[in-house]
């Protein structure tokens, strides 16, 4: 597929969590539609309860949807089984937020990456070489392979999480608040890593965050979500300059610092 083709197409996706024991039902996704093209970054910005994390989980099939469609290169994401499911696993991967729980604390980095490499069916003969290359690609030395997660810093653990996601050579990576839990000085290096990997591998990102300035910086196109709905979508700079939706305006005004005030 050439650059710019539509990879992921989501139409009218909805999901409601049933209420339990007196709590009301909660509409997590409400008629969400979007498109993702090859090698581009789609940014999704929203606050708590906006549904952005639910969307991330639906895209990697950790949870289902109640209605709507989601297609990846012609394959039905929501109902994939067997060979289709394996195909999707190898095409769309995810990086999570919490560097403290992204790795099994009882297993080494090597074991964690092996688990991912096995899904990718790396040639077993050179599997160790593969692992070393994966580490170097995210800026970590291969010596760290035999370390345990608690011996690495938060930033380093996130790098491993990225390596794990990239192990299957996906074309789409969903990044769900993957720098939000890191210190500011570390965030930028992770973001740079992600940009560099994208350039080199032609990845498409679904970049999810509550941090408007970061999403604006990383995305080719941007979506603003609130209470499960998309309230605004388009070019990031356009949205910042000329927000149409009142919620978007409020969100922009809430970003501290004058860097992003409408000119």
């Amino acid at each position: 597929m050439s650059r710019g083709d539509v990879l992921l197409s989501v139409e009218h996706l909805s999901k409601t969590y049933r209420g339990q024991g007196g709590r009301p039902a909660h509409k997590a996704l409400d008629d969400v539609s979007l498109e993702l093209r090859a090698s581009e970054t789609l940014g999704i910005v929203g606050e708590s309860g906006s549904g952005k994390s639910t969307l991330a989980r639906v895209l990697v099939r950790l949870t289902g949807a109640d209605s709507g469609r989601a297609d990846y290169c012609g394959v039905d994401l929501l109902r994939a089984r067997g060979a289709d499911a394996l195909f999707l696993t190898r095409q769309i991967q995810i990086v999570f937020q919490d560097p403290n729980s992204s790795m099994n604390p009882r297993r080494t980095i090597r074991q964690a990456l092996l688990e991912a490499a096995r899904v990718a069916e790396h040639p077993p003969a050179d599997i160790q070489g593969s692992l070393a290359r994966m580490m170097e690609a995210v800026g970590l030395s291969r010596e760290k392979l035999d370390a345990y997660p608690h011996q690495l810093s938060g930033g380093q653990r996130q790098r491993v999480a990225i390596a794990r996601a990239l192990a299957v050579s996906p074309r789409v990576v969903v990044a769900d608040e993957c720098v939000s839990a890191l210190d500011v000085s570390v965030q930028s290096s992770i973001l740079n890593l992600m940009l560099e990997r994208q350039r080199e591998l032609g990845l498409a990102y679904v970049f999810i965050s509550h941090d408007l300035s970061v999403v604006h910086h990383m995305s080719d196109r941007m979506i603003v979500m609130r209470s499960g709905r998309i309230v605004e979508a388009g070019n990031p700079s356009e949205i910042m300059r000329n927000p149409q939706d009142p919620y978007t305006r409020e969100l922009i005004a809430s970003v501290p610092g004058s860097g992003f005030r409408a000119a």
Binding site: G19, G21, G22, P24, A25
Partner: protein
């Protein structure tokens, strides 16, 4: 119906209570089934107790079986038993010919007096001791309380019984060795019964208090200038004693189990002793009835404890 409950939190709470009651009833039913079926797994049945199989004819055995209703399919038997239960008929002791109900009435008083004495002892001592140890943490009192409760937790109750009987009854003669009849007969069994749960409860209270004492709300209150005594007695205490409510149910369960042993050792004529005796003599109707009764006590205690906890902790009410 769910929408109606969204609008009326009180209704939601009532519904939760009703569900909880229904669930307990279900567990009780299952308890009865398990006891019923379980005891019937015993090799041979009661007919062999009443008639010597080597001398009775097969017809006599069959007739007796029919008389006792033992030739019916098991679920029919159970339903008959259940029907009887609801009418207050728990069966008959085949050895002594008493009804199980009368056994419960006679022996129950003894068991209740023993268990209640132990229960009161446990909480009347554990709470003050545990709190004192926690508040005076690191002091000699704390060390003493921890040490003694540790020893109490570690000593098996029958060993303690042996030791106490030897010291206080045989050697010193202050208390009777066993049996019943006066308040003096209650002392040793109650002490033995309460010892280990008391040790455990004391430790729990102490740990619970210390956990709360380090909580952020305590610091936040100090920041606002609240006095230590207000923080301690109004806040830390209440939070620390919440787990004690759950502990109550656990201790009831423990005590029900331990009374079996303690009553047997001291020949205290309570339900526990009757149950052990009935098992040893294969008087299975009594065994069944008492088993179900005792298990029911545990289920009810758990239920009561969960309601008390709801009343004490507002977070649980809205779950």
């Amino acid at each position: 119906m769910l929408e109606a409950m969204e609008r009326c939190p009180v209704c939601a709470r009532l519904y939760a209570i009703v569900v909880r009651l229904a669930y307990s009833a279900l567990v009780l039913l299952l308890v009865a089934i398990v006891a019923f079926v379980g005891l019937r797994l015993a090799p041979g049945d009661v007919t062999t107790q009443l008639l010597d199989p080597s001398r009775a004819t097969p017809q006599e055995l069959a007739f007796l079986r029919h008389q006792l209703g033992l030739d019916q399919p098991i679920h029919i038997q159970f339903l008959q038993y259940l029907a009887g239960l609801l009418q207050g008929d728990l069966g008959l002791s085949l050895i002594t010919r008493e009804t199980v109900v009368s056994i419960v009435a006679n022996a129950g008083i003894y068991s209740i007096s023993l268990a209640v004495t132990a229960f009161v002892l446990i909480f009347a001592l554990a709470i003050p001791l545990g709190l004192t140890a926690a508040i005076w943490r690191g002091s000699a009192i704390d060390a003493a309380v921890r040490g003694i409760s540790g020893v109490m937790m570690a000593t098996p109750n029958f060993v303690l019984a042996v030791v106490l009987i030897n010291l206080l009854a045989v050697q010193a003669g202050w208390l009777p060795v066993a049996g019943s009849g006066s308040w003096k007969h209650l002392v040793l069994p109650a002490l033995v019964l309460a010892a280990e749960p008391l040790g455990f409860a004391t430790r729990l209270v102490r740990t619970s208090y210390l956990e709360q004492a380090g909580a952020q709300y305590a610091d936040a209150m100090r920041m606002r200038g609240l006095s230590e005594s207000v923080i301690r007695w109004r806040h830390i205490m209440r939070n620390a004693l919440l787990p004690v409510i759950s502990l109550g149910a656990v201790q009831v369960r423990t005590l029900v189990g331990y009374t079996l042993i303690v009553e047997t050792i001291f020949r205290w004529p309570g339900l526990g002793k009757r149950l052990v005796d009935s098992v040893l003599t294969r008087d299975y109707q009594v065994a069944q009835g008492l088993t179900i009764l005792l298990a029911a006590v545990v289920v009810v205690a758990t239920l009561v404890s969960s309601f008390l906890y709801r009343a004490a902790d507002p977070r649980v009410r809205d779950e």
